[in-house]
Point group: C5
Chain length 361, copies 5
């Protein structure tokens, strides 16, 4: 069957309670950090991978807008250098490293700081990954847990985009485009869950198995996980328009569009959630129904044959008919056996009629 999803759990990287605020700690599962950069202006683009932090300044001078992307949270030194280079608050850096952080938006002086979660299907596994996004005056910085993201279409638009809006626009537009890519990334995911729910709803009536039950519980859990990633995005989108100074007013229709999408996603998620919850009810009612069927068959067979068996047993008793005529005279009748058979048939028919009237047949 098609509806198997498994969650890739994010590794846990909270440091011990009571440590000083702004303490940066790196999980041992974290991938080493690599930096890639994309500098562009209306007319040209330049992409370089695996640069060092000190190189960034060069590109910043060369291009009106640079997009720095970091994959992997494992190299504390690199992240600290980045923090120093872009003048990022230590508490924000701490949040970047805490990979189970709630999506949020904050604005520090002239930098907007967004935490979001990308959800996608990696084969059959639900993969939820945290992305941190910093939008500054002449740069956009994205920090991801690992390589692989939903930003490729944005990169393509930049590459091929000579003359298009994205090449002429400011960092606020690029920030919006990345946010929009994360949000739109939920749609194909929800469609897959929609199909999985459709399939399960069909199967659960025809052949309810215990596997089904545990699948339904997994689905419910995964939808809850996606909800936790999607719900706070509403505030994030709103905050991007309202609280961030460097977002210009002519971004309004784009952000409203983005907001429409996240509202639609939340609507879909609520509906998915209800459906996944009712799957379990459906399973149980289907099971009840089946149980009822089983019980009926047992009852019919047992009810018919136990009395018949009793009659047979009756005439299997060994009372000695020779001692007196009161002892099992039927066994000595000429039509004793047909009489007994007749009794049984009458009994059988009687029960059949009774069950018919009870509507059990």
């Amino acid at each position: 069957m098609k509806f198997k999803f498994k969650r890739k759990m994010a590794y846990r990287s909270r440091h011990a309670p009571g440590t000083a605020p702004g303490t940066l700690s790196v999980s041992k599962d974290a991938k080493p950090s690599t930096i890639s950069i994309m500098g562009y202006g209306p007319d040209d683009v330049e992409e370089v991978d695996d640069i060092s932090v000190s190189d960034i300044a060069v590109y910043q001078k060369k291009w009106p807008l640079v997009w720095v992307n970091i994959n992997g949270l494992g190299s504390l030194d690199i992240l600290e250098e980045i923090g120093a280079h872009f003048d990022i608050h230590r508490l924000a850096l701490e949040d970047v490293l805490n990979v189970r952080h709630r999506p949020k938006i904050e604005s520090f002086k002239d930098t907007a700081f967004l935490i979001m979660r990308m959800a996608r299907m990696d084969g059959r596994e639900l993969d939820v990954e945290q992305v941190s996004l910093f939008v500054g005056k002449n740069f956009v910085l994205t920090i991801q847990e690992r390589a692989g993201d939903c930003f490729d279409p944005v990169r393509d638009r930049i590459r091929k985009g000579a003359g298009r809006r994205i090449r002429e626009a400011k960092p606020d537009y690029l920030g919006y485009a990345l946010m929009d890519a994360v949000i739109d990334g939920f749609f194909p995911l929800l469609e897959q869950y929609d199909q999985a729910l459709d399939e399960m709803e069909e199967v659960i009536f025809s052949s309810p198995s215990e596997d089904m039950l545990s699948h339904a519980h997994d689905l419910k859990k995964e939808i809850r996980l996606i909800r936790q990633a999607a719900w706070p995005l509403r505030e994030v989108v709103n905050g991007y328009a309202d609280e961030v100074d460097l977002v210009s007013d002519d971004m309004a229709p784009f952000i409203r569009d983005c907001y429409d999408h996240i509202v639609q996603i939340i609507d879909l998620l609520e509906s998915h959630r209800e459906r996944s919850a009712s799957l379990i009810d459906m399973y149980l009612s289907s099971l009840s129904h089946r149980m009822n069927e089983v019980m009926k068959v047992l009852t019919i067979i047992a009810t018919i044959f136990i009395p018949l068996g009793f009659i047979a047993g009756l005439y299997g008793m060994n009372f000695n008919p020779e001692i007196s005529r009161w002892n099992m005279p039927e066994t000595q009748w000429m039509y004793g056996y047909p009489f007994a058979i007749g009794l049984m048939v009458a009994c059988f028919v009687g029960f059949l009629l009774y069950f018919k009237r009870k509507d059990w047949l």
Copy 2:
């Protein structure tokens, strides 16, 4: 039975995440677009079907108010021309093509843009179709997924309406009339569901079958679908009065009336939803009851006849009475058989009394 509904699922037309905002993409299931126009003033009406976009301007000059209706979302070129002609924002056009969009209202400069969903029964199938409505200074533009809508009574009122309000009124009144037609269209639908719920509630007690269960789940699902179409209409109606500049103040009582209707629809839907949810509970409790009945019969029969059968078996043993007087002396008694029968009758009556006291008979 009458309560079979099936949902006609809207075809899915989301484009890939990350594509540029305002990208128009057409689903391959979409019907080709055809344009019809209705131009009218206080004194006369003119209706023409299958015109081209360039013809519209002619009618706009001729009549104080034109209502342009487009059926089918399949012809991207036509839609783009329409967009250009009426000066529609690309993001709005994108929403028109996304046929699973949440109902909403937006106002672009001097055009109000509404998305609504018409729900109706097409035979036994629930058919939910998206309508986009643009209300401008001297035009109303409606774009539907396919031919067939709930606007015919409005068309009739225009046609026959010499001297009536609708012929003299501005586009804001026509916009309201169309919105009202969409909203009122929910009433007959809800009545049909009301009847279906009534029927099912009756049937579920008398003869609960598994079909019933899956029908109940379908009903629940369809009511959820209608709710998703109806709930946001409240905001749409409110927004039409509050946010849209070109809606004049003397429209207030009409819009308040319209608002009353949508509130009533939502009330009905909530009540339908509760009822559809309790259908499943009713099914399960009815089943439990039936199961209890079945178990009682089984228990009574088995409890009575198993001990009787044991007594019969007892005297069917082959211990040799000739070897000693301790071996089954009853079989050699003169009244051994009547004694055994008496034992059985006593046993039978005892159990009957026991069940009577337990209130199982």
Copy 3:
């Protein structure tokens, strides 16, 4: 048993979707309309039944305050004349005729328009009837679906009330008094439901029958119906004080009192609703318990007698003891039969002890 209620469904009178706003349509079940009038001042009262619309003006000149009451919504001409006479907005008249309208308050120029629903027990049937109330400068107009209402105590107070407040007061006081009568009318109804719930809670534990289940569902449905009638009254009462200009400030303590009552009714309804919902749970748990009892008896009897029956069957086999001493030698023992009986008794006692330990006895 006492707890049988049936709902008298209001006849449905919605006109087709898309018809022009303000279209008046009359249901064919509607009773013909009759007008009665009560004119009074501080010193005297005059009551006349079956007058025509044109007579009203006469009484209005004669008395400082007239209360016009119309029973029946069947005569469209009379209602239109009334609408013209009292200058009532067509949309309000449309609402009066739509007998399933949500309770609401609206103020048109100097007339307040209230829709309420009276709920009462008509024998064993729940009877919910719509009342429309217009409060003007020198008149109060009530329009009911049919004769019979909860206003008789108010009429009595007016008749006997020389020197009392109601005779000196303005229309706002009469309007309040009628509203209060409708609201107070819910109390005896809720008391009846309270008793029905008490009774059912008792019966459901002692003897759960399937009838009980369907009664519980009916109760739940009826309480939902009453809630739909009562909830919006809170806003109506609030609106009467806040939005209606002609309600004077010294009405405040009366309206606050009225508001207290509706809040108390809503509290009671919530509690009734919870109780009616838990009735069904109680039924199911009571049933589960009973089923468990049944199963225990079956298990005890079957578990004891099936093995005993097996032992009996064992010694009922026909292996020939004469052929070898290995074939059923027990049957040839001197104490073979007592041995078998002993075996059975041991088995019986063993099971009894086992069930005792399991706490099933």
Copy 4:
């Protein structure tokens, strides 16, 4: 067992709907009213029981502050005199007599009017009694349904309190002290319910009986009753600080403390409510578990012995082995009987292994 509570239902005293507002009606169960008074100043106290209304004025002159307490709502004349003496609005007096009124606060000119409900355990019965509290410029008036209240500690503090705050303070402090006593009175009650819930949670797993179920439902009902008494107190406490003019500002920390208590009570009640609701779930799941156990035993015994019984029956058939060697040749074998016993043992062991593998043993 300890967890038996019964509700003493308040007698119902609503007058007929439609009667004039401010109509005072006395329930026939109401106790006759008796007046007691406590007058005090910083230096001295005087307490007198069974005085008449006309005596009150004497004490009011003598003492800076008098606390008049009335037990019993049965004497309409006394209550009307009291109303006249303290200048109480008729609608307030009506509320005092309506003993099922929702807790509330209202301020009439310079008198604050509070309705509260005292809940306590009277032996094993939950006893909910209404108290009305009027706080005026130089008096406090309390009206209770019957003798016996939670004010004794306050009286003691007044009696022994020379030099303490309560003796020097104004009516607003006495009003607060009484309100606080009512609110604190919920704590011991909730502790008793806490214990009852603890006990039931323990018992329900070890020995679920049907009594338990009805106790659980009673508990749930009583907790709902207490909630209805406690919830509105939050607004009452808030209103005492905010809306009542004669409450001085230095009362603020006391009232904040009082508010903390009521919030804590509501928290406890919510937790009690959840627990009482889950009691029923626990009962049902415990029952399900037990049923499962019962079914397993039945199945194991039946499944093992029915086939064994069949084998025994097989060799109990009377086919004549003398007629042909095809008729039951086993009965004539030398080791026929041991063979049959062996067959049975094999069957028995087979089933045991099967059940072992199924994890039913």
Copy 5:
């Protein structure tokens, strides 16, 4: 198994209702109070244990900031002296002693007063302890129920912290650091519950036992307890920033960080709560499934062997074949026995096919 937690219930120390506000009463279980002090400035630290209240003033003169910690609430005299020394309102002291108080924040003149609850696992037991925190101009006072807390990392930061922020900062920073330590202390706890839930979800499908059910109920209860401790902290953190005057503005990013943490904790708790609730559903559905399995086996075995047993019983009857040829002629047939066996096999195969078709095998 690993998932055993038990709650250490806080001892109850409410004094009788009606006692004067500000009455201090000590529970008899309370530990004697001991005072320790930590005085520090940017350059040095001094820690002393077991000092008396009168010593505190000495340290306050010597150091810019002192942190006084009191373990144990048993010594009323010490607490009253402390109250006098730091000028603490009597109502606040009363709250300190009421160890089941709801977390809250209050500001008295220039002292902020916080009540919080520390939750941690003490071995396998959930241990919830109340901490009161007073933040004054030059002191921080913490009062705990008993020794052992989550403040050691803060102490270490102070000890080793020469030159660090905590040593230079004002009491508002120390207050924040302690609050943050309490809040962060929930994370490891929630992780433990997360693991317990994971384990139980796995076990509940593979082998549902009644223990599991009571564990699930305990888990649910404990999570509710933690929720009650965590929820109000949100307001506490907010209040610390907004309502407390002595908290300076540059604390804002730290408090926002703290707020993010508590929101994340609440999110986790909600998700834990849902999961613990669905554990019970999962248990019940798993049980239902198992029951269904058991029933099927019983039904199959009984349905097959009861009819077979009947056939065997039939030919075990003792009708005398010698008297007439109608009496059990089969027993005299040459192939009578094979015929009977054949009948049984046919019956057996028939049922097998039936069950196959029913999908029960």
